[in-house]
């Protein structure tokens, strides 16, 4: 709903939960009237009960109220009660923000009341700048799910989405469904008693996919181009024959799997030599034997076999050099156990030794491990130093229990090599190549077209053709906080392309990704953000007439939501947007805003605070707290009745990335003594809900020191802190220490000039 012709502002002040005992409610009403300029002002002893809520509803329905400021508890409390979708709402946090955190006793009555009055001023100022968001409902949006990759993950995702009633398009590069699982003899067991290897079941699954009326399968095909956004991905599917089909899809699951680490990269472990194979090589042998005696390439029956775990993985490189893969691929221990069973089940007299450094069999794998021990597989904790292939392979190793260097020979050596994700183009590489190509570098032009060939999705996004990669090239986002999300809205990675995993984990992963894809198309249809702000109807709007085409928004958007139009203005793809506001924080000319969150909604709050002059010895500190972690931490501190200084004024922000430097300037100009920003952990193990938001905030703030010095201010007056949701005790100390530090520094020299 757009702004109605006559906005009418109302403030509702609650006196329940002890607010009436500790605060002068009449004083707050006066502030709302004289300074907040609210047309309707009411107080209620129990605002969130049916009667209080009805009072507000009646005013909205009968009295034409369009803007509501609720001065009661934190915006994180009573969200269901205070939900009035047709009007703009602000929340002045008097409970968690004031009475629960200001020290008790009449000594503190004055500062407590001042703090409450400021929050009422802020709530009134904020709501006047807000518009109730109407959402971004599109006439046509597709709910079809595109699955790229027809292996175990892809097929599982396709079936999960189809079973939930969604149309699926499945694109597979090769001529058959099944992917890597087609090469396996058997699989690690999916279910109890976890004692024996199981048939892979891949053929049955492929038949189910082929026979499912809701799944359209493109074999021998790749994705030639993906344009658009969630709900309207226009996908060109190129078949090997040269024909191109087009599909309109709502969301994408990328399940492109992995390749095995090249054996010839491991010469120190006998890679490339006779009778040294990797796990995939052994699967081929076992498949050929089909339950009979497993034979080597030269036709000789294998009578003794050594499995070398972590070959070229975990930075061990076989020779401790730290080369090869840095990570553990997770599945190889269980896979080697399964493969050792191939031998023992066929002939218990075959010597099978698994040389491991740490045997990692997550989940029920421990039972599988025990079963192999029962079958007589020998497990030796050892670091393998060298393998020499040949008719009798030589394995040199250090026994880590007996602490001695020794060796053994075997007919066959199996190297447990790692998974390398098939995640397409590395975007850093892409950006560098494109920049070089644009400046006329011929080699770069060639490299660009080579990169385009390895791209999986061929997105026509300004930010590059594939998803951003996390560590080691995996298309992950954050494996703990956001396991199924990637950094491209509506596109979900599943299976070993996201992180190394075994077949069972891949099927679970694929189910999760399919559900995420469904969530995305459903939210798009309702005109809402996908996640994490799944209820959010607001979306960024830009006043392009003021835009200077600096491109910061397009570059800094963590999700690649912003393209450029023909005239090089930013082109917002709302469906790709997660509503973090990082673009708003980036914009130097402040032309980007949301209907209910903008430079003005926060700026007016900052300006509305009553800043005492330098003689009153009451400093004012602005806290801009990320609403995902820092603001809940502050609320939790309040719930635990920890006390912090009554001189701070906290404003929740969607993400530190949305903090525009104008707010800092506004605050310092208004005479605030300090500004403290609280955001999530940044870096490789970030916890930012919007991936790069807090990092961007740090980066921007690192640049403002010079500006502060020009103003004659100490750099300490602006601080950026990392806060986790569990940090309630720490955050209190942080605030109190900062207030003490600022008190020592003395009042801001800017006071009185605002």
């Amino acid at each position: 709903m757009n702004a109605p012709a006559t906005p009418k502002h109302a403030a509702y002040i609650c006196s329940g939960c002890g607010l009436g005992d500790q605060l002068d409610i009449a004083g707050l009403e006066k502030v709302a009237k004289t300074e907040g300029k609210m047309a309707v002002i009411k107080s209620h002893p129990f605002l969130c009960n049916a009667e209080g809520v009805q009072m507000i509803k009646d005013d909205i329905a009968n009295d034409g109220v369009t803007h509501v400021c609720i001065a009661a508890c934190s915006r994180r409390a009573k969200a269901e009660a205070f939900s009035f979708p047709s009007v703009a709402i602000s929340r002045a946090n008097l409970r968690e923000g004031v009475i629960w955190v200001v020290a008790e006793g009449s000594d503190h009555d004055e500062v407590r009341q001042e703090m409450a009055e400021d929050y009422v001023r802020m709530g009134c100022a904020e709501v006047k700048k807000m518009i109730a968001p109407a959402g971004n409902v599109k006439e046509t949006s597709s709910k079809k799910i595109l699955v790229v990759g027809g292996g175990m993950s892809g097929m599982t995702a396709a079936l999960a989405a189809a079973d939930a009633g969604y149309e699926v398009v499945l694109v597979e590069k090769t001529g058959a469904l099944g992917g890597f699982a087609n090469n396996l003899h058997k699989r690690v067991p999916f279910n109890g008693p976890y004692a024996e290897a199981q048939p892979t079941g891949v053929a049955e699954m492929a038949a189910k996919v082929s026979g499912n009326g809701k799944i359209k399968v493109y074999l021998n095909s790749t994705v030639a181009e993906t344009a658009g956004a969630p709900g309207r991905f226009a996908v060109k599917i190129a078949a090997e024959s040269g024909s191109v089909s087009e599909e309109l899809c709502g969301a994408i699951v990328q399940a492109t799997g992995f390749t095995t680490y090249p054996l010839d990269q491991l010469p120190e472990l006998g890679g490339g030599q006779a009778n040294v194979v990797d796990q995939a090589g052994l699967e081929a042998m076992a498949k050929a034997a089909d339950g009979g005696a497993i034979k080597r390439a030269d036709g000789k029956e294998v009578k003794s076999v050594v499995f070398v775990q972590c070959a070229g993985q975990r930075g061990t490189g076989g020779n401790g050099s730290g080369q090869h893969l840095e990570y553990c691929s997770g599945h190889c221990c269980a896979t080697s156990i399964k493969q050792a069973m191939y031998f023992k089940d066929q002939n218990p007299d075959i010597d099978t030794v698994v040389m491991y450094q740490d045997l990692r069999v997550p989940g029920m794998g421990e039972d599988f491990y025990r079963s192999a021990q029962q079958k007589g597989v020998i497990f030796t904790k050892a670091k393998v130093n060298a393998v020499k292939g040949g008719d009798s392979c030589q394995v040199e190793f250090k026994d880590l229990i007996l602490n001695e260097d020794t060796g053994t020979d075997a007919d066959l050596v199996v190297l447990a090599t790692g998974q390398v994700p098939t995640s397409g183009v590395n975007l850093d590489d892409w950006t560098a190549t494109v920049t070089a190509a644009e400046s006329g570098d011929a080699a770069a032009v060639e490299k660009k077209s080579a990169l385009q060939k390895i791209s999986v999705l061929n997105l026509n996004y300004r930010q590059g053709p594939d998803m951003p990669q996390f560590k080691y090239g995996f298309a992950d986002s954050h494996f703990i906080c956001f396991p199924y999300e990637t950094r491209r809205t509506g596109i979900y990675a599943a299976g070993p392309t996201r992180r190394p995993m075994d077949m069972f984990q891949a099927t679970e992963d694929a189910t999760g990704a399919a559900l995420k894809a469904i969530q995305a198309v459903e939210n798009v249809e309702k005109g809402r953000a996908a996640h994490p702000r799944a209820w959010d109807l607001s979306f960024p709007k830009a006043r392009l007439e003021g835009c200077t085409q600096c491109k910061r928004c397009t570059v800094e958007c963590p999700f690649g939501a912003i393209d450029e139009d023909e005239k090089r203005f930013p082109k917002f793809n709302e469906e790709r947007c997660r509503r973090c506001g990082t673009c708003m924080g980036a914009c130097p000319v402040r032309v980007i805003s949301f209907e209910n969150y903008s430079c003005d909604t926060v700026g007016m709050q900052i300006k509305s605070v009553n800043v005492p002059d330098e003689f009153e010895e009451k400093p004012r500190i602005l806290i801009l707290a990320c609403e995902n972690d820092a603001y809940p931490a502050l609320d939790m501190a309040a719930v635990q009745r920890m006390t912090y200084s009554a001189f701070v004024r906290a404003i929740p922000v969607r993400c530190l990335g949305s903090v525009n430097t104008i707010w800092i300037t506004d605050a310092l100009n208004a005479g605030y003594d300090g500004v403290m920003m609280m955001g999530c952990k940044k870096g490789d193990d970030y916890q930012c809900h919007f991936v790069k938001g807090s990092e961007m905030a740090y980066y921007r703030m690192s640049k403002i020191d010079d500006t502060l010095k020009q103003l004659g201010l100490e750099p300490e007056r602006v601080q950026t802190q990392e806060v986790a949701i569990t940090d309630s005790a720490r955050v209190v100390k942080m605030i109190n220490d900062y207030v003490a530090q600022l008190t020592e520094m003395g009042p801001s020299p800017m006071k009185g000039f605002g």
């Binding site: 491990y369 029962q374 020998i378 030796t380 026994d399 229990i401 007996l402």
Partner: protein
């Protein structure tokens, strides 16, 4: 016994684990060890032996036959059962240690002059004579195991305890004449001989 040893070594060739599984009490559980080391960390006598149970099990799998059977580790076990209680894989470690000790003894590979082994031998020889432990002769055998002079010294050192026990009627000096036996001494002897015969036949130790 050296013949038995040679026979066993020949029979199982390079597979000491199989030999242990066939001939040692609870030996079939050795393969289930997952090398976590909890037994080694739990053993109150851990620092005093050559090899911890964890190492013994690893050595068995690595085929170190002579080293295992000649180790003093199994003889140092006091049967406190800490390791059994704590083993996450439920290995009867104490039983396996005693089984290994017995097997090494029977093959003639157990360490010579190892004190706990000597006591075990004296105790066995004492108890099978009459079917009862004769505390007086057992104590005297202990005192004199390192020679007559040392025996006199030991006895003199312990005389206070001995007299005290006699006063309290806990020690009968007449027991030195042979002492009382169980009801069916020859039955016990026959039973033990039969058990030995069965065991020897099964393990090829005859």
């Amino acid at each position: 016994m050296t013949t038995a040893n040679q026979n066993a070594a020949a029979k199982y060739k390079n597979n000491f684990l199989k030999e242990v599984e066939a001939n040692v009490e609870d030996g079939h559980m050795v393969k289930m060890c997952m090398q976590c080391g909890v037994c080694a960390g739990s053993c109150p006598l851990g620092p005093h032996w050559e090899h911890s149970p964890q190492k013994i099990f690893m050595m068995i799998r690595a085929g170190k036959r002579e080293e295992v059977l000649q180790s003093d580790s199994m003889w140092m076990c006091t049967s406190c059962y800490n390791c059994i209680v704590r083993c996450p894989r439920k290995l009867p470690i104490t039983h396996i240690m005693h089984g290994l000790a017995n097997y090494a003894h029977r093959l003639g590979l157990a360490p010579q002059g190892q004190p706990t082994r000597d006591i075990a031998k004296l105790f066995w020889n004492n108890i099978i004579k009459t079917g009862r432990v004769n505390e007086l002769t057992f104590s005297l055998a202990m005192y004199f195991k390192d020679g007559f002079g040392q025996g006199i010294k030991n006895a003199m050192a312990m005389q206070g305890v001995g007299l005290g026990l006699m006063k309290a009627k806990r020690l009968n000096p007449l027991e030195i004449l042979g002492g009382h036996s169980c009801k069916d001494k020859s039955g016990i002897h026959k039973m033990i001989a039969k058990a030995r015969e069965i065991e020897d036949r099964r393990k090829g130790l005859a």
